[in-house]
């Protein structure tokens, strides 16, 4: 493999054992691979939200936009629309994208805009020290819910499927080989792709053992079959004990937003005369 250096001088401040390392390492390997296969590094832009996960862009020496809480998605969309040739990979937390920014995610999926969302779903707020998130299980005792939450979690993949996402997958921070495979596929998928990563926060919600016991890898599922995908996605509802499927749930070819949207962009040169033309029409 090509020996490109994707490191930066930023000191890594994630807790030892944090699941974010696996995501970062997998992404770096995929980027290196894509670059070896001919994708120019400068064509890649990483976007992140705010939370422990957001620091990932500091640690990878590639173009990046470190955005704000909940708003990584529209930034990624703007970059993609402005320069459709760029590969835009967007990292967000579960509090970030499934909570504060859920509206944007639904619309990005609806538009089928060609960006890749990697959700660091540790099912807890890491950076603000341990509050519940939209995917924390019912009864989760966080710092803002000391007697346990009274609302059940949402199933983000079900929501994304309903919203029109055309690539949906799940991985865990204990499965870097699988992460590499789905990240690469998701990045190369034309259209909106989302990978929900069960990223374990060792400090506030250590689920390593639980996940190790329950996960299995999807095999031979029909990726084009919406109903099959829905059933598989519903098998585990982020709440009750059930087998947890990993891998790709759904993949569909569908025109991406920018394909219908981007037109020829004439140069600046004849703007002046066109403005005059418009003015004259208005006499």
């Amino acid at each position: 493999m090509n020996k490109i250096n994707l490191d930066t001088y930023a000191p890594n401040t994630w807790c030892p054992g944090c699941g974010n390392f696996a995501i970062m390492n997998a992404v770096k390997l995929v980027i290196a691979q894509l670059s070896a296969e001919g994708l120019p590094l400068e064509d890649i832009v990483l976007v992140s939200g705010i939370g422990c996960h957001g620091k990932i862009v500091d640690y990878i020496n590639v173009n990046s936009f470190y955005s704000i809480h909940g708003r990584a998605t529209p930034v990624a969309e703007g970059i993609k629309l402005a320069k459709p040739g760029l590969k835009v990979i967007c990292f967000a937390g579960d509090g970030d994208a499934y909570g504060e920014g859920i509206e944007h995610l639904i619309f990005a999926a609806k538009r089928n805009i060609d960006i890749t969302m990697v959700i660091h779903n540790n099912r807890v707020y890491g950076l603000t020290t341990g509050q519940y998130t939209p995917t924390s299980p019912l009864g989760f005792k966080g710092r803002s819910t000391p007697r346990g939450t009274v609302e059940p979690p949402i199933n983000p993949l079900e929501l994304m499927l309903a919203s029109g996402a055309t690539y949906l997958a799940r991985g865990t921070s204990h499965g870097i080989e699988l992460l590499k495979k789905i990240f690469k596929e998701a990045i190369l998928h034309k259209g909106f792709s989302l990978v929900d990563v069960l990223q374990v926060c060792v400090t506030y919600f250590n689920m390593y053992e639980y996940y190790n016991k329950h996960v299995y890898e999807l095999k031979d599922n029909n990726l084009q079959d919406f109903n099959q995908a829905l059933n598989k996605i519903r098998e585990w509802d982020y709440n009750h004990e059930a087998p947890i499927a990993l891998g790709v749930f759904y993949r569909k070819e569908f025109p991406a937003f920018e394909d219908n949207f981007i037109k020829d962009r004439p140069g600046q040169a004849d703007r002046e005369s066109k403005i005059s033309e418009f003015l004259n029409k208005n006499i």
């Binding site: 862009v57 930034v75 703007g78 970059i79 003015l279």
Partner: protein, 555 residues
């Protein structure tokens, strides 16, 4: 007659707005300067809608209370505007709908329904019919109306022409309003002028979520965008609007967004991000009476301090308030240039009176706009997105850019754009960002940021900003006073302002708000006003109304 004011009124859904535009164009074709004030409630059908079309030999940008001709499509129009009737005012009405309570000489009643029925025309064409009558009443040729309608109406032109002819034939000449031997100027809403100015400033993308009074900019750019290769996007919310816009700016595309107060509330987090990440974006902020939803279709100047202070933290910004169509064009182009030159957000304050008012537009008067490209990376040493510079402006590079890793960051960061919490770096970066505003202020000394109008030597001055310009300048001219108009509100040109006030003994403030927002701003620079004239009922000052108030203030 040097000028003429026509009021046309009816219920929302009668096509009053359209009719006002046609009348304006008709008079414009006769060589007059035009200004149209449009008044409509925030309902789709019903309520009372009217437009005042004023034509004058001179440049104008205000309406008068004194009306010469009222066109009434319903009884309300007469009842609501009776106070405007005076001697010499004519009244053309639908005799099937309106009972006039005035002398026979004054009115001209036409059975519009009957005329339409005979032509098998739909009810909506009553407005065309009454415009036909108006044309005859002011002694104009039918040919002028015919040309106007041909240009204005793509749909049902023939039927409209027939209906207009019926109105024309059924009316009689009331007076003779002579055409002027003068070239007609283009005819634009303030919003259209803003939109064209953005294009002139190099706009690549316009992103907006509908909100009165700036939605027409979105509609207009969506309509004409293909001609200029623009991306015009209406996403899910204003939050999305500004964040998408920052994505565009990161990628090197010139972008503007438009909204009103409520939407701007949602944009403030993105505005702060623009400040921290040093991303250029132009925001058009259409003020309306608030707080909250307020009066959606009326006007105010009550978001100046919001614009000056929106967003957390301290960062440089450019805030400008154009006063008419030429200034709207000029300053939206200039805002785009300034925003890119300094990598800061620029806010254009407008309101319904400016945005939806219709003006003559004289490109010659708008002023020369220098194209100033952003400072770009020369490709030599290692790229640092936030490299420290004397004036705070770091050279830009855009992805994809070989050999440059471009990192922007909402978090405090070092020169390379990597997060830092180190005190020295924090201080250095904060100072770098603020420095830009100081250099911008110097730069602005080459612009006409504070304008002086009318009687420039008068010791009494009216102080106004934004859409009040038109009415203040005209009132000042008639009363022999000076009018002073700061156009750029941040960075505020205190020196230019001081010069504009040289010799002034009495300063009379005119604002469309209840607390004196400009007064508070200049107060911070040690300037005081002597009298205050506020109007905050959502309606603009009419010329007579302001004159009365000013006379009271001078006494």
């Amino acid at each position: 007659m040097d000028e003429l004011s026509i009021l046309i009124g009816g219920r929302a859904g009668f096509g009053i707005d359209r009719a006002g535009g046609i009348i304006g164009r008709l008079l414009n074709r006769m060589g007059y300067h035009i200004y149209i004030y449009r008044d409509y409630p925030s309902i789709i059908r019903g309520g009372h809608t009217f437009s005042i079309i004023r034509a004058s030999k001179n440049r104008i940008a205000s309406h008068r209370d004194k009306i010469d001709v009222i066109l009434a499509l319903n009884q309300d129009t007469l009842d609501f505007h009776k106070k405007r009737l005076n001697e010499g005012c004519f009244f053309i009405f639908d005799s099937e709908q309106v009972k006039p309570q005035m002398g026979p000489n004054c009115g001209l009643g036409l059975p519009l329904g009957k005329l339409l029925k005979e032509e098998l025309a739909p009810e909506i064409m009553r407005n065309t019919c009454i415009i036909g009558a108006l044309t005859k009443a002011i002694g104009a040729d039918f040919g002028i109306l015919e040309d106007t309608l041909k240009k204005e109406l793509a749909k049902d032109l023939d039927l409209n022409l027939k209906v207009a002819r019926r109105g024309f034939d059924a009316a009689r000449e009331l007076f003779n309003f002579e055409p002027l031997q003068q070239k007609s100027l283009p005819f634009l809403t303030g919003n259209q002028a803003l939109a064209l100015g953005l294009i002139k400033g190099g706009l690549n993308a316009y992103i907006s979520y509908p909100m009165t009074p700036s939605s027409p900019i979105l509609h207009y750019l969506a309509e004409i965008g293909d001609d200029f290769g623009l991306d015009v996007i209406h996403p899910e919310s204003e939050i999305s609007v500004i964040l998408m816009a920052l994505g565009y700016a990161y990628a090197g595309k010139k972008v503007a967004v438009g909204t009103s107060g409520g939407g701007f509330c949602l944009m403030t987090e993105g505005l702060s991000l623009a400040g921290m990440a040093e991303l250029p974006v132009v925001v058009i902020l259409g003020q309306r009476p608030g707080p909250s939803t307020g009066l959606p279709t009326y006007s105010a100047q009550s978001d100046l301090h919001f614009a000056l202070n929106a967003g957390q933290g301290e960062f440089a910004r450019f805030v400008v308030a154009p006063g008419d169509a030429e200034e709207a064009y000029y300053w939206s182009a200039a805002s785009m240039n300034i925003s890119w030159k300094y990598q800061i957000p620029g806010i254009i304050l407008t309101d319904k009176n400016l945005g939806e008012g219709i003006f003559n537009f004289d490109l010659m008067l708008a002023g020369e706009i220098k194209e100033e490209g952003p400072v770009l990376w020369n490709g030599e040493s290692t790229y640092k997105r936030y490299s420290a510079a004397k004036n705070g402006v770091s050279p830009l590079a855009f992805a994809p850019s070989k050999d440059a890793v471009i990192k922007v960051n909402s978090y405090e960061h070092d020169e390379s754009g990597i997060t830092t919490e180190e005190p020295q770096q924090t201080k250095m970066m904060q100072e770098k960002r603020l420095r830009k505003e100081k250099y911008l202020a110097l730069d602005l000394e080459n612009f006409n940021t504070v304008k002086v109008h009318a009687e420039k030597e008068s010791e009494t001055a009216l102080l106004c900003w934004g859409s009040n310009k038109g009415v203040c300048v005209e009132a000042a001219r008639r009363l022999g006073l000076r009018a002073v108009q700061p156009v750029v509100l941040n960075p505020f040109g205190a020196k230019q302002f001081q010069e504009a006030l040289a010799g002034v003994k009495k300063l009379i403030l005119v604002e469309n708000n209840a607390t004196g927002q400009l007064m508070r701003l200049i107060g911070g620079y040690g300037f005081k006003v002597d009298k205050q004239i506020f109007k905050y009922d959502g309606r603009p000052f009419s010329l007579e109304e302001l004159e009365e108030e000013v006379k009271g203030a001078i006494k």
